[in-house]
Amino acid sequence: MSRLDVRKTYKLYIGGKFPRSESGRSYPALDKDGEVLARVAQGSRKDLRDAVRIARGAQSSWAGRTGYNRGQILYRIAETLEDRSGTFVEQLMATGSTKKQATDEVAAAIDRMVWYAGWPDKFAQIYGNLNPVAGPFFNISSPEATGVVGVIAPEQPGLLGLVSRLAPVLVPGNTVVLLASESNPMPAITFTEVLDTSDVPGGVVNVLTGFKDELIPFLADHMDVNAIDAGGASSEQAQRVQEGAVHNVKRVLLPGQGVAEQSPYRIAAFTETKTVWHPKGV
């Protein structure tokens, strides 16, 4: 006797929980042959609004942890990714990767996470400075998290693209609202399960699946979002992001802006510089 299929319900990831979209909508994720792989939640603007509110609530305590601790947690994500690598390989193959391509992509994603896991307690040494000033003061600049960052994940590669955009934003203590790949959302959803079992505090990373054209305007316009990595936006979408960003002067990292995927400049793109003056010789 054959078993009944145990089909999984794919949901959003907001505040460390897996809610359905408040809209109740879903859309089909297709495999390489155009067959329905699964139905995934189609997030709405209200889901986005909730995610931003929760990301804001989680931001100060995430940034308040020591860099060392954030590094530990990012490394833990890499460990759990390694654990789930089989699932990721399967999902990538279902959407058209060969076995070798899929295995390589998963390995690269894990390695990239490990690479960024080294940075939280080191980036300030590079981007901070003791500035020479004409007066009896120490003048010290140090980088701090920007706040809540919207990340528009690229459509492809499904896993590596996501990890490469997400990890550098988390390093300095930003919290994230991430719009997953629309055409290949499965790796992003599995990745939320990795996050959920990796000591990442609830609300630090929030992942929405759905239609980018529908969600991007509300993300771009949101006054409580401080920066957007538009790496996965089409040129029209990137334009929309820039238009929305003017209202509260969001930092925007555009696709093809020439910042390598594995680079400390990617971390610096989502920081603010704080400078303090301290009297000398007292």
């Binding site: 949101h222 006054m223 409580d224 209202h247």
Partner: protein, 317 residues
């Protein structure tokens, strides 16, 4: 000890401990499951965009902007009063709130800061929030805050006395506080979070109204749970029944725990469904709140700009 009736015909001519007890026992009981279902059903109503803006304005006009903290200072209270007058300095179309509600020591500063604006000055009294002192001190405090310029007094009932069946004591205190308050509006805080059951909420509401309350109010905000929708429904129904029996109109003030516009709109819905339009004004319904105002302002900004707002762009106090 006997008292003359405060103002109602539902009590006998001479009020004594036994007559009060009979009166309280005669208050019909509440269907808790039914109340929960009713508010759950009302909460699901959708409110259309055009109505929303009107509702948000009304919520502001109904608001008792409150600060009741041990760390309150004249500076903070003056700042809060300025916010009460002009909630959003960038948008003059937004109305002022109904009142500023503070501790007795802060009343003179609010009086000064809101002079000529039509904003009411509310003070808590009767040794808020516990009310655990002798009646004469409570009465004296009430006189003092009215003399200092408060035109609304928020008193607390003695919950201990109520729960142990000393209804006469509670009745007497409300009545004497009402006398001491004179022309000032008296809001009676039942502290429903400490009354344990909805039956008790209904009884305490009736008792407070019979004793002369102008408003009944859910909570001090110092006890959890504070205002809840089902409790509010029960109190509104008590107001309706009291009005039917005596013709006397009493106001309602949920306080504490109403933090979002969405929540506040649910209260308006329940109000409109229970008491109707006659109560949909700041004269008969108030929200006791501090953080609610910013959320309402943010909602208005969202409706006007189409962009979700950020708390960074609104004053904190």
């Amino acid at each position: 000890m006997t008292l003359a009736p405060a103002r109602t015909s539902i009590l006998p001519d001479r009020i004594t401990t036994p007559t009060l007890r009979t009166f309280i026992r005669g208050v019909t009981s509440v269907d808790e499951v039914g109340a929960a279902e009713r508010v759950a059903a009302l909460s699901k109503r959708s409110i259309k965009r055009e109505s929303k803006r009107a509702a948000l304005d009304l919520i502001i006009r109904m608001m008792d902007l409150t600060t009741l903290e041990g760390k309150d200072t004249p500076g903070k209270v003056i700042q809060l009063s300025a916010k009460a007058v002009r909630p959003d300095p960038t948008d003059p179309t937004i109305p002022s709130v109904a009142a500023v509600c503070v501790y007795p020591a802060m009343v003179p500063y609010v009086v000064q800061a809101t002079e000529g604006t039509g904003i009411h000055v509310a003070s808590v009294a009767t040794y808020f929030p516990s009310g655990q002192v002798d009646t004469k001190l409570k009465v004296q405090e009430t006189r003092d805050v009215v003399a200092a310029g408060a035109d609304e007094v928020d008193m607390v009932i003695d919950r201990g006395a109520f729960l142990s069946g000393e209804y006469f004591k509670v009745f007497d205190e409300v009545r004497r506080t009402k006398e001491a308050a004179g022309d000032a509006h008296l809001k009676v805080i039942l502290e429903t979070g400490e009354l344990e059951t909805l039956d008790n909420v209904r009884r305490a509401s009736m008792l407070a109204m019979a004793a002369g309350a102008d408003f009944i109010k859910t909570s001090t905000g110092k006890v959890s749970p504070a205002a809840k929708l089902d409790v509010t429904l029960v109190m509104l129904e008590a107001i309706r029944d009291f009005h039917d029996a005596t013709g006397v109109k009493v106001g309602m003030k949920p306080a504490g725990g109403v933090r979002t516009s969405k929540d506040a709109m649910k209260y308006l819905l329940v109000l409109n469904e229970t008491l109707g339009e006659g109560w949909m004004t700041p004269d008969w319904f108030r929200f006791g709140a501090s953080s609610l105002l910013n959320d309402v302002l943010m909602q208005i900004r969202w409706l006007e700009t189409g962009r979700y707002a950020s708390p960074d762009y609104f004053t904190k106090d």
